[in-house]
């Protein structure tokens, strides 16, 4: 498998692609729910991956029904998640190798994520990667979040490259911006 065209820039998703954070969220949800006597089947959790906050709320409200306080639940999940990141925030396989290869090829790169800027900085700093990206697009930098491609489009704009068509995405994704065709 090779790229159909040479790349001129690369844009990374963050959660699940660079960091093993999807599994930490899964564990945080299960732990938080269990502490409250709630059952969260794995298919329920997986069905919310890549959904917006409002869509996730609708899924949980629909599952637990009237009387379920999503805001209180998610606040507790977030607290549990941050506790887990203190000791279990792992880089996914190949991140360092790929960044080194992009350095060698002098390809600029950005992160496009649904996470908050402070979380991106925290995760990158924990692994000494803060200076490896030319741009970071995070929550608040675009109007429509995942699965809409707006974060990737905003990242392309920050890198000053022409994005072309971008797919909606729900699973960890990396996009290579093709080098413009020579005239």
């Amino acid at each position: 498998m090779t790229l159909p065209r040479k790349a001129c820039a690369v844009i990374f998703d963050m959660d699940g692609l660079m960091f093993d954070t999807e599994s930490l969220y899964r564990d945080a949800i299960i732990t938080t729910a269990s502490a409250s006597g709630l059952d969260t089947p794995l298919p329920l959790i997986l069905s919310t991956i890549g959904l917006s906050g409002e869509a996730t709320r609708a899924v949980y409200d629909g599952h637990f029904g009237q009387g379920f306080d999503f805001d209180m639940f998610w606040t507790a999940v977030s607290k549990q998640f941050y506790e887990l990141t203190k000791s279990q925030l792992r880089l996914k396989a190949g991140v360092g190798e790929l960044l080194d290869a992009l350095d060698d090829a002098r390809l600029p790169r950005a992160i496009a994520t649904s996470s908050r800027h402070e979380d991106v900085r925290h995760h990158l700093a924990a692994h000494g990667l803060l200076d490896r990206f030319q741009a970071i697009v995070a929550r608040g930098d675009y109007s429509r979040g995942k699965p809409n491609p707006d974060p990737f489009l905003a990242a392309a704009e920050r890198l000053q490259v022409e994005p072309g068509h971008v797919l909606p995405w729900r699973i960890p994704t990396m996009v290579c911006v093709p080098r413009p065709a020579q005239v």
Binding site: M1, T2, L3, S23, G94, V95, L98, P163, P172, M174
Partner: protein, 36 residues
Amino acid sequence: MMTIMVPDLLVATAEMEKLCICVAQDLHEVCKIMET
């Protein structure tokens, strides 16, 4: 853009596989694709 998906907890559907240029196991595989 050329989209490479690297599934984690969620498996790529057949529809997703059709839309992207490839589904990779991890970023080691992506690195090989970028270098060739």
